[in-house]
């Protein structure tokens, strides 16, 4: 079944101020590369009256290191540019390279990836299918088909960049018609499949700011095929160590198992001050994977994803312990 976009008006502002003014209209929607939004519009999951394209705004382009040594990545940077950039931490480049396909990475943007809509087997379907099965909570109905007794939606956060940005302590600069603010990426997301981020609709993500990082970091992505597929599970870890190999700081984040990337706070606290021996990694893995409850709403069953969670957490911790963060997948 072929699908066409619903009708809309496209506006292409050239300044951020202009875009912020246009997006304050509640019937308008931002479009970056459109690789997430256009398929959803074709399936009539959303039908904005106006699309505000960010493609012509120079302020959203480019990657630079600022005076404080932070890596500043414009929201309009494509994933292909990110994957190729010598300025960004290697873990960010390799996470970008593991997203979607070469075609998509040439169009998809960083801002769109961080704002990526949550996904679920019951919503990412053509309109006719959803009509026939009954619209779910996220689709304006009154039942979550994944967890029918639940009062909220369990659609999955599937962005590969967010777990990495959180592990690296990143923040986002948001601009709206009435001002701007900076928010930690960690606080940008919330565990609700419908209201999955805390940004208001009128706010534009302008840049991702990553503090200078000298520790060791990795992102392990699990998926069915070695390319193109969304994550079934993603584990990001970034840590610093003292001369005695004791951990002085760590962030451990599990992606694609809930409606937001999950920080493993208990495991992080346990690891501080410890050397990453096998026993320590085992206990941290237990602490980090226990709260993870994947639902049956993507490729492969939830039990399989639950089983694989400790496997990937252990591998990630072993990698940063041994400084062998050359990357998980054998990509060229």
């Amino acid at each position: 079944m072929t699908m066409r976009l619903p009708p809309f008006d496209l506006v292409t502002p050239t300044t951020l101020q202009e875009a912020a003014g246009l997006i304050s209209d509640p019937t308008a929607s931002i479009v970056g590369g459109g690789t997430d939004l256009f398929p959803k519009m074709k399936r009539r999951q959303t039908t904005p009256v106006t699309l505000v394209s960010l493609a012509e705004i120079d302020a959203l382009k480019g990657i630079r290191i600022d005076d404080e040594g932070r890596c500043v990545i414009g929201a309009g940077v494509t994933l292909a540019e990110l994957a190729d950039s010598p300025l960004v931490p290697a873990v960010v480049a390799s996470a970008a390279d593991a997203i979607a396909s070469p075609q998509i990475r040439n169009t998809a943007t960083v801002g769109g990836n961080l704002c990526l809509d949550t996904r679920c087997n019951y919503i990412d379907m053509p309109e006719l299918w959803r009509e026939a099965s009954g619209h779910c909570l996220k689709d304006g109905g009154d039942t979550c088909w994944v967890a029918p007794r639940s009062d909220h939606c369990w659609a999955i956060s599937s962005t590969d960049l967010a777990p990495v940005a959180i592990a690296l302590g990143g923040s986002l600069r948001l601009v709206a018609a009435d001002g701007e603010r900076i928010i930690d990426v960690d606080d940008f997301f919330q565990n609700d499949g419908i209201d999955y981020h805390t940004k208001s609709p009128g706010e534009i993500v302008v840049e991702l700011l990553l503090p200078a990082f000298t520790g060791r970091a990795t992102y392990l992505k699990h998926r069915r095929r070695g390319s193109i597929d969304f994550p079934l599970l993603g584990v990001a870890a970034a840590a610093t160590f003292d001369d005695a190999a004791r951990c002085t700081g760590i962030r451990l984040v599990v992606g694609a198992v809930a409606s937001a990337p999950l920080r493993a706070i208990a495991a992080e606290e346990f690891l501080i001050g410890r050397e990453f021996t096998d026993d320590v990694i085992e206990e941290a893995t237990r602490l980090a994977s226990n709260p993870v409850r994947p639902q049956d709403n993507t490729d492969t069953g939830s039990r399989y994803r639950k089983w694989m969670t400790p496997v990937f957490i252990t591998r990630a911790l072993q990698e940063i312990a041994s400084d062998d963060t050359t990357n998980q997948e054998e990509e060229p």
């Binding site: 066409r4 809309f8 398929p39 979607a100 070695g226």
Partner: protein, 160 residues
């Protein structure tokens, strides 16, 4: 819905057409310009049958809006042969039987060209990753990969 007058070049020719805002570049190429080589397999970025080059970069034309092509240089499968002389990729796909129904073929040819334009001597793994956005549901991938490898050899010979 607005209509935009779009000027761009397609396979080296200056073209112009009128496009409504919600029309994909794929539909504009096929329906306005009569270039039906690019196919629609899914319309959602999953299959790569609609692959084209925009300013030298591989894209899914089903996910690009026609008005966004303003000023762009576009190459479709119709533009990769040299007149009546097939591109080495087209020739090796034919000789290597790298197609059955052929609906995926234009996308594979354009994606493979995008790879060989920037990497004349790719490893098999590099070819597989470069073609990961293209699905084929009848031939299977081995004949396609072999044909790309053979075309790479031929192109390197020519470049010598």
């Amino acid at each position: 819905m607005n209509r935009t007058h779009v000027n761009c070049t397609v396979n080296g020719d200056d073209v112009d057409f009128l496009a409504a805002d919600g029309i994909s570049l794929l539909d504009a190429l096929r329906d306005e310009l009569g270039l039906t080589g690019s196919k629609e397999g899914c319309g959602t970025g999953d299959c790569g049958a609609c692959s084209i080059l925009i300013d030298g970069k591989l894209n899914c034309s089903c996910l690009v809006l026609a008005p966004e092509a303003e000023g762009a240089e576009i190459v479709t499968v119709e533009g990769i042969a040299d007149g009546d002389h097939l591109h080495p990729l087209q020739q090796t796909f034919l000789e290597g039987a790298a197609l059955q129904c052929g609906i995926c073929t234009p996308g594979f040819l354009v994606a493979a060209k995008a790879l060989l334009d920037t990497n004349p001597d790719p490893t098999e793994t590099e070819i597989r990753y470069a073609l990961a956005g293209n699905l084929c549901r009848c031939t299977g991938y081995d004949k396609i990969i072999r044909s790309v490898q053979e075309a790479a050899v031929q192109l390197r010979e020519v470049a010598k």
